[in-house]
Amino acid sequence: MSESSASALPSGRPSRQAFIHQESLSLDSSCFSSPPVTFLQELPSYRSIARKRTTVLSRDKQSGTLLKPTDSYSSQLEGEITENLDNQSIRKYALNISEKRRLRDIQETQMKYLSEWDQWKRCSSKSWERFIEKAREMTTHLELWRKDIRSIEGKFGTGIQSYFSFLRFLVLLNLVIFLIIFMLVLLPVLLTRYKITNSSFVLIPSKGADIQCTVYPISSSGLIYFYSYIIDLLSGTGFLADTCLFYGHYTIDGVKFQNFIYDLPLAYVLSTVAYLALSLLWIVKRSVEGFKSNLIRSEEHFQSYCNKIFAGWDFCITSRSMADLKHSSLRYELRADLEEERIRQKIAERTSEETIRIYSLRLFLNCIVLAVLAACFYAIYRATIFSQEHMKKEIDKMVFGENLLILYLPSIVITLANFITPIIFAKIIHYEDYSPGFEIRLTILRCVFMRLATICVLVFTLDSKITSCDNYPCELCGYNQKLYPCWETQVGQEMYKLMIFDLIIILAVTLFVDFPRKILVTYCSSWKLFQCWGQQEFAIPDNVLGIVYGQTICWIGAFFSPLLPAVATLKFIIIFYVKEISLLYTCRPSPRQFRASNSNFFFLLVLLIGLCLAIIPLTISIARIPSSKACGPFTNFNTTWEVVPKMVSTFPSSLQSLVHGITSEAFAVPFFMILCLVMFYFIALAGAHKRVVVQLREQLSLESRDKRYLIQKLTEAQRGLRNRLD
């Protein structure tokens, strides 16, 4: 993300501008002019490359001199190709179907001359390939929302399509997370509770803990107003608090099946670790797929001109309006890139006093950004404390609206903060004088951090409230058992509220802002105000941040509320359809298009940031804060994490000492040092490779100059000979 230096060329390469000068100067000396193309086509290097491309047969074209081989040449080419038929499947050849059919016949006649073993090997590899293909075809049928995403791609381009593919990925991820949790935690409980298998619960009375910690007061249900059910549904209190939605339901120490005892606390912790690890691996795998080719680049540019010109047009666009938009966006993008180039050169030519001025201004503005962030976090902190304190009062005595307001106060403050801060950041970055591309990236990164850190602040606030009894650290049970007898359930309820509120806001914005805006702009377009306002544009960064925010909540909340991933899956499915309808009916495509390659990397990067920010509060809750003794599977342990050391202590002693050895410092420090050494080695290797690449490029351009010189001399000599003969 650093600003690259002025020159866009890799170092060490002869400057192109200087070269062109030389060319124009020395045309008289006729050393460097380009040889005619027909000559170049006769060179052996050209021919061998053409052979590899397998343009076997000549084409009947009036103009153009793509390789026109003689008969002997073509049979020689065929011979070369058939030798390689073992390695390459026929369809990868750039031939038309009749030519491929001929090749296949040749290959089959060749088969007769092979030994039986080779024949069998070829047959089996072919049938294996066919099987893989059939399997792949099957899986494409199962692909969710294939038609919808294809039609979006055709109408709005690959940038917006990548957003919907990302949403589909999150739906699948949440479904798999829910399946893991279901298999490990829910299934034994449900099997036993509904007497499907012959198993029973194992309840070990807690020993050593104070009797006060294990008291779980059941909320008295006095006069229940009808709206209390709605409140319960929206906030997870009341009748929902005891269901299997929340942690408190699983006050079970084990499930006794016929042959073994299923250790539920261990399964609970392992399911958490499993879904975090799975998410990390899946995200990294997806990002590497698109990133592999990026790793071998020698230049810093993320978006090169080659990429924009040769791969700039989305060939899958089918609508005229989208095509016009794509043309205008390409015009804008190419002009913006050239402009950015000019700005970068200007930046490099800054005087030192200007640089000092700019850097001190940037430092000051960054301090303002930090101050804004701190203010937002403090606001969330106060709102959470206020909400928690007032929730403990008699809820039934409050008015319906006030009740809901207090319950949702943290969510409301977070949403307001997330709405205001991007505007502030956009204004601030204007003064920081970065290049336009960098400006956009930095603003987005700041907004991402802001959005995701707010959830962390919320969880930390809750944690601090839970572990303080009247402003002193709690000694009796380690947590405030009077206010939070079952604190994990309450944290789970906060996460549940955040998720529901997020869904409500998205639905409300679509219904009450997007559609009316579209209606007003279409039907009252005579009013200047609406004309200026214009139709909605599908803003990809904001939408992506929204769903990453939802996914972060899900990751944090899945520990405290095992059914939350299922809720998240449903929520994302609803969001998919709502966003699709909103896109098709209310949005016009933005003239500034997001590139798909850039988008995929950006989405997964933001998701990874979300995952890292989700792991922090989870680790603190699991490892630091004592688990509640009144409810949940960990009543017999000090902290949630204690299950694992207890399990390790049941291993045979050799395995135990191995595990203890791996987790001790005596292992970790040398391991870390070895990792650092390996990393330095690879960095040095990459640097050496880069230097070799630069040298080879220089050598290539020198060789080419020699080639042109020689061709020039040859043509002159030929001309001289012809003149002499005449």
């Binding site: 490359i49 084409r59 038309n96 990026n294 791969a311 590139r595 080419s704």
Partner: protein
Amino acid sequence: MGQCLRYQMNWEDLEEYQALTFLTRDEILCIHDSFLKLCPHGKYYKEATLTMDQVSSLPALRVNPFRDRICRVFSHNDAFSFKDVLGMASVFSEQACPSLKIEYAFRIYDFNENGFIDEEDLQRIILQLLNRDDVSEDLLTDLTSHVLNESDLDNDNMLSFSEFEHAMAKSLDFMNSFRIHFWGC
């Protein structure tokens, strides 16, 4: 616009097309049905041909700035047989391998068909992409020189096939954007 004799594709032909192209069974059948609707009356589908105009006015290609080049590259004798259409769909399908796409992209972008992408080709590509007649000379030369800066390794002001291949292998958008879904298959 009549219809061909409604011969169903036999199973061996379908298997062969599946083995020789990157298309799935459903895609081949879909293309076969659409081809039958477009080809002239009374002809067997294997012998019928479509004109270049018919193909370049297909919905998938209608708005593509490179449709003329695509038609030229994939047609034989200025006409499209069923096999040509299948070949074209195979190259543009999602499952096609990168080397095949790069090969045909090179042929498509080589406007003057001299086996190299030179400055004249680049300027024509840029003009097609921008779709405007009033592009300034400066912009064109700027862009061409930037492209050649990045990908012309031997400094001969042209892109040979290996240089183009090298540039496209590093390009992240290429595989995503070089795709066409014919007939909504």
